[in-house]
């Protein structure tokens, strides 16, 4: 544990990184964060003077896709983040230690660095049955999460699971999977949603925090504005086709071949806040819309219940066993009310007509009476 007192720069030099490579790394990190060139020097200064921040990375109910995404980061490389920028002291997927030795770190770090370490959470705690649906190291995950969060400096919520709940929280949510901000209420939480989040967004958030010593600016839902400030739609390269009204109608039509807008195929770009259309995936190679498939909105709250993914309007009323889009429900209601209006109009017309029509004379006696003897 002696390494934590070293600065980033000392550690990098000890690992054989040249001064030149170090400065290149700082420049690349500044570029990846979208900062002005002068910030490369600031990053270098920060890394020369600040000790490495201990990070504890916990896993709850999740699929590890966030970790899979993270280790593929190209700018900065994930290995640089893990080995040089932070001190990743606990991550049960990536660490060498195992068993009691590994679990002991979760007790040790909060005692040794109270209020200084960052807690990164991948996945979420299920609250039903006292948290029994997720047991890690013999204890409910929710208990361990609360214990480790108690002394953290800040908490990062990796992915849709930790941020919103994701598929395990989809209706009817049998395990009561709960986003971590409902469990940890007294710490700043940075939500980095996505299923998974973009690798460079994950490393970018960490780089920002160690460079500036504070959490990035967040929107009203706790997401970093620099990556989640705009919708995918706002920066989509197919946006001109949207404004022109040129839409793909079926997956193999001429519009699909021409690369038209996928809105009518259910693309959730217009309602999804993420950096996919700017940062893209796999080192900037592509992203779903570029590959010809609409966005499914994986970084949005409730995206799993806002299907079907191939229609622009979501189904409503899934909880009642009836699934229809807002238009179908509205048209049915309008039909019922319209029929009611017609029936009422008919009844009113009959009544009105009866009122106008002169009443039959009351002194007419029934014909059969007159024939009585």
């Amino acid at each position: 544990m002696g390494a934590e007192s070293q600065t980033f720069y000392q550690l990098m030099r000890a690992q054989g990184t040249s001064r030149r490579s170090f400065l290149k790394f700082c420049s690349l990190t500044a570029a990846a964060l979208g900062l002005e060139p002068v910030y490369a020097a600031q990053i270098a200064h920060a890394m020369e003077t600040k000790p490495r921040i201990p990070v504890l990375w916990m896993h709850g109910l999740e699929c590890t896709c966030c970790s899979e995404s993270f280790i593929r980061s190209g700018h900065p490389l994930a290995k640089d983040v893990i080995l040089k920028m932070i001190s990743l002291d606990y991550d049960d997927t990536l660490m060498a230690a195992a068993g009691y030795q590994a679990e002991a770190i979760l007790d040790e770090i909060p005692k040794k660095y109270p209020g200084e370490y960052i807690l990164a959470v991948e996945g979420n705690p299920p609250l039903n049955e006292d948290g029994m649906y997720c047991i890690v190291g013999g204890r409910p995950f929710v208990d361990k999460l609360k214990a480790v969060a108690a002394n953290a400096k800040a908490v990062i919520a990796w992915g849709a699971c930790a941020s919103w709940g994701c598929v395990q929280a989809a209706r009817p949510n049998p395990t009561q999977a709960t986003p971590i901000d409902k469990v940890i209420t007294d710490k700043p939480i940075i939500k980095v949603p996505g299923c998974p989040p973009i690798a460079e967004v994950m490393t970018g958030v960490i780089s920002y925090m160690i460079t500036f010593g504070r959490i990035p600016d967040l929107d009203s839902r706790g997401r970093p504005l620099m990556f989640y400030g705009q919708r995918i739609h706002d920066k989509c390269y197919r946006r001109p086709h949207f404004d022109a009204g040129e839409f793909v109608e079926t997956w193999d039509d001429q519009g699909a071949r021409e690369g038209y807008c996928l809105y009518k195929m259910g693309c959730r770009g217009p309602t999804t806040y993420n950096a996919c259309s700017t940062v893209r995936w796999n080192g900037g190679v592509s992203f779903p819309i570029q590959a010809g498939h609409g966005c499914i909105g994986c970084s949005e709250d409730n995206f799993w219940d806002n299907g079907p993914f191939y229609q622009p309007l979501s189904h409503v009323g899934a909880g009642f066993g009836v699934e229809a889009s807002a238009d179908e429900i509205g048209a049915a209601a309008a039909g019922v009310v319209g029929a009611g209006v017609l029936a009422h109009a008919g009844a009113s017309a009959i009544k009105h007509w009866q009122k106008i029509k002169p009443k039959p004379k009351s002194d007419d006696h029934p014909p059969h009476e007159g024939d009585r003897p």
Partner: protein, 240 residues
């Protein structure tokens, strides 16, 4: 309502109730027809935005601006609707007493509730005729409040929430609405779904509203449709 015990006193009040009443002042009438036009355009363009039904359109994007034009018409109508509503709320304070009816149905008044029941019976074809009403009847006031007013406010709030997303972080509609409405509904897509449902709620209102106006014009004891054009309510008979 009951029989008049003294025939000698019955003549002057009769003349009084029969005189036409100036109900809808000019700003209210202009507001009504601006709303009618704006809601028609908003519903029509809203359908097309939620589900662009036109067939595949080919060519370079700079040759067309179809979706852009439709959205522009939607936004302009939305602003017109909001401005008309602002003027209308102002007029509720400075206008005549009929200008306040739809904002505050007098549910606390026993007489109002009695008239409400009578109106419901009238629409159920039980009551032979309505009272003479110079403004809205209590049932109409309730529908105006619950269906029209709340529906329009809901559409304004959710609509400017979605608009703020497009204009972007830091815009007035983002700060005023998007910031808190999207978390309230859960996600932007959910707000969109509810915005469409809200439109259908208003369409239901329009169906009932137009039907009732025509029906009352024919069957009730006072004018309806012409009142929203010239402002005056005329009564068809001289009974109290």
């Amino acid at each position: 309502m009951l029989d008049h015990p003294s025939p000698a006193l019955s003549d002057p009040p009769q003349a009084e109730v029969t005189a036409p009443v100036y109900v809808y002042e000019l700003p209210v009438r202009i507001w009504h027809w601006v709303m009618a036009l704006a809601i028609t355009i908003l519903a029509f363009t809203g359908f097309l935005i939620a589900d662009p039904i036109w067939p595949l359109q080919m060519g370079q994007p700079y040759n067309h601006y179809m979706m852009g034009d439709i959205r522009f018409a939607h936004f302009v109508s939305a602003y017109a609707l909001v401005l008309a509503m602002v003027v209308r709320v102002y007029w509720a304070f400075v206008g005549n007493r009929y200008a306040r009816e739809i904002f505050l149905p007098r549910v606390w008044s026993r007489q109002w509730r009695g008239e409400f029941v009578k109106t419901v019976r009238w629409y159920l074809l039980i009551e032979p005729e309505t009272s003479k009403e110079s403004g809205h009847n209590p049932l109409a006031q309730t529908a105006m409040f619950a269906m029209f007013l709340l529906g329009v406010i809901f559409e304004i709030v959710t609509g400017f929430t979605l608009y703020g997303e497009g204009v972007g972080y830091g815009s007035w509609s983002y700060d005023l609405f998007t910031r808190w409405v999207v978390p309230l509904f859960g996600s932007s897509q959910t707000v969109r779904t509810w915005h469409v449902l809200g439109m259908w709620y208003l369409i239901l209102f329009v169906i009932v509203h137009v039907y009732m106006a025509i029906r009352e014009d024919i069957m009730s004891r006072q004018t309806m449709i012409s009142t929203m054009i010239n402002g005056w309510r005329f009564f068809k008979d001289n009974r109290p």
